[in-house]
Symmetry: C2
């Protein structure tokens, strides 16, 4: 009877894009392998003790609430906390602008569910976050890629693409995944301007914004959008009535295992996302939301983020120095000012997906860059390197192994 | 700029069915109101102390694992535990047949994502679980309703409907939501037989199966399907290669606030659900999965379920006795052998949605039955009553209030 299911699933499965990456990464699970492939935070920085205390407090004083069903919108004190955090970034929201999601991945899915009909087009920077493509492939989205450079999305190419009428633009302004690039203020302003000119909304994905090691914080698109409307003298509907859906997450600051993210959006958008989420999973774990709130409510987050920034900044430095030392001529890489990833180009004729098979034998792994492109064949000589998860000595050693391999491959060709 | 979002969302929103229920239930949040409306477990039975101990143990011994990203399929020890539990019900699965979901609501969404194209038809018992309709409305499903009676789905009407080619049948065999009905063995066997005859798979939703107060346990459809294949001499592909996707949950036995459910299905189906879930939210909270496993691993569940059964059985008895005492002539109700709900019919000319507005003034609430039907206009004189959440004295008092109101309404008509 297996054919019963096979037949029914085949068509849809193709659309959903069985991940080549998934297959490749199976080989990276050897214990002595140094992996730059995942997007995992440094586990030694997890606030475990704090989580233990918070869990005990909640289950001592408020267990009935923590274990019961809760509202789809999320736990009100956590939504209010997010409002406060957002305020620092110039985002003037209220609790009703905030929806709690199961990590920001769920926000991407809910946005697809609400906005995308089959064949609808999404404007994306290329390369872009693989998980967004996975979420929207399920809704049969098409993509309008706009190339990025070392400063992110090339806005001078944006207008021509907007004329093709995408449903929305998907932008990661800070320490982009996978590029590690950051949009300068001029590019941000231009994106917002064009959003209004063409009436195309923006999905702003900002998982790493708090993790800046150097340089100055830049305002998010959602804040610039609000300013733009004020300056343009557009009718004010109060806060958060603009063109941007902003996505944040606790995965990179608190812990990914709690699966907690959030959306900040106009009230009417939040209401509709809530309707969608109700059908999807009723609500996000009450216990986890209360746990996060209990962990952060007394100002712990600032102190904790300072530690993460310092450690990740050091690891980035170690990786940059090792790349300089061990990688052969003809390679180049980005120099991220924050986040978890940097992006490397190797000589054009090297296929990093093929190279990965060899790299794994040398006990080192990365994600081949092609995975972050919307069409096959592009980005074949690129790779994404994560610097948050491995310790400095491992980073040094892993980059050494990868550099040696590249040198061997180049020498063998001569 | 609000119109920007409005325009884009309007079409899709309609399909997703802004819930009338949601609006109605807003009025039920007064503190002194006795609500039979929700599907909430009895909070005083939550194993809070056990959760507290389990959380402390996990975060003392294995915090790094609990707070990190995890596999999409779920936490292996929990999947293996589910395999053992399922075995008692005659379901011979392996860990690779099990996917952990965010409550079984997420399983309904993932199944829709995988199986349903716009306009695809789903065969449902009528009335049926509102949340399933909400999940599949988002995929633009159409419904082929088959009426139920006091023994659940009327299988003598099934064959004619199967000829219309539904994508799958959605069945709740035990203590159905909202009807409280249980399918007798003969009906179960006939459903499985027809599933094979017409090549139409079954989604078996079993959130309450463990909560039987009286009568004998009946085998789930997934087990009967396996037997059917063996008897029919169909080629064996090993365990779990059949026609049924089975859904279970910890929400009614452990705690809904953890958002933990599971799917048991053929391996190829699980693999595809995993691909879908990856794009939807990467995975279910590692911490919550470890917490559930830590709570149940030493046999706690059996003891705990015995307590729940006893308490819910008592509450059902109180509700049945109160209905007998206070409800006027011309009303009838089901007598569930387990679960959380019973189903009541009032005289044909009474609209329970209208009546609810009055009921709320009398400080009592329920869900009007129309919400569980696929087409407007049906089931207007029915209501779903939950007996798990309120305490016995409240149940008695709430049914008294509702009975008095019904008598007033009937008297006023004469």
């Amino acid at each position: 009877m297996t054919t019963l299911w096979k037949n029914r699933y085949a068509q849809r499965l193709q659309r959903m894009g069985r991940s080549v990456i998934r297959e490749l990464l199976k080989y990276t699970e050897q214990p002595d392998l140094i992996s730059f492939a995942g997007g995992l935070p440094a586990p030694e920085l997890f606030p475990i003790e704090r989580a233990r205390e918070a869990a005990a407090r909640i289950l001592t004083t408020n267990g009935v609430h923590a274990l019961q069903y809760g509202p789809t919108e999320g736990y009100v004190p956590l939504r209010e906390y997010i409002v406060q955090r957002m305020c620092r970034y110039g985002i003037h929201a209220k609790a009703e602008n905030v929806l709690i999601t199961n990590g920001s991945q769920q926000a991407l899915d809910l946005i697809g569910k609400l906005l995308l009909n089959p064949g609808d087009r999404v404007l994306v920077e290329e390369p872009t976050y693989l998980g967004a493509l996975q979420a929207w492939n399920a809704y049969q989205a098409e993509y309008l890629p706009v190339p990025g450079d070392d400063d992110g999305l090339r806005v001078e190419l944006l207008e021509a693409t907007l004329r093709h009428g995408p449903k929305f633009m998907y932008v990661l302004p800070n320490f982009q995944n996978p590029g590690g690039t950051t949009l300068p203020i001029e590019r941000r302003l231009e994106i917002v301007r064009l959003s209004h000119k063409y009436g195309i909304p923006i999905v702003e994905d900002d998982p790493y914004g708090a993790l800046r090691f150097e340089g100055e914080h830049l305002p998010p698109l959602v804040a610039l959008d609000s300013d733009f409307q004020t300056r343009a003298g557009l009718e004010s509907h109060g806060y958060m009535e603009g063109n941007v859906i902003y996505l944040g997450t606790f995965s990179k600051t608190l812990a990914p295992g709690l699966r907690l993210g959030w959306v900040v959006a106009p009230v009417e958008v939040v209401e509709q996302l809530v309707m969608a989420k109700q059908g999807v999973d009723l609500h996000t774990s009450t216990f986890n939301q209360m746990l996060a709130w209990e962990m952060v409510k007394d100002g712990f987050m600032d102190e904790h983020i300072r530690v993460i920034r310092r450690v990740y900044g050091e690891r980035r430095n170690v990786m940059l120095a090792a790349l300089e030392r061990y990688f052969p001529e003809g390679c180049s890489w980005t120099r991220p000012e924050g986040g978890l990833f940097l992006w490397t180009r190797v000589p054009e004729w090297i296929d990093t997906a093929e190279l990965l098979k060899e790299a794994v034998k040398h006990k080192v792994a990365y994600v081949p860059g092609f995975a972050f492109y919307t069409e096959p064949g592009r980005g074949r000589n690129t790779m994404r390197l994560n610097f948050s998860n491995a310790r400095p000595a491992q980073i040094e050693e892993g980059i050494r192994r990868l550099g040696e391999l590249l040198k061997q491959v180049i020498a063998a060709r001569r």
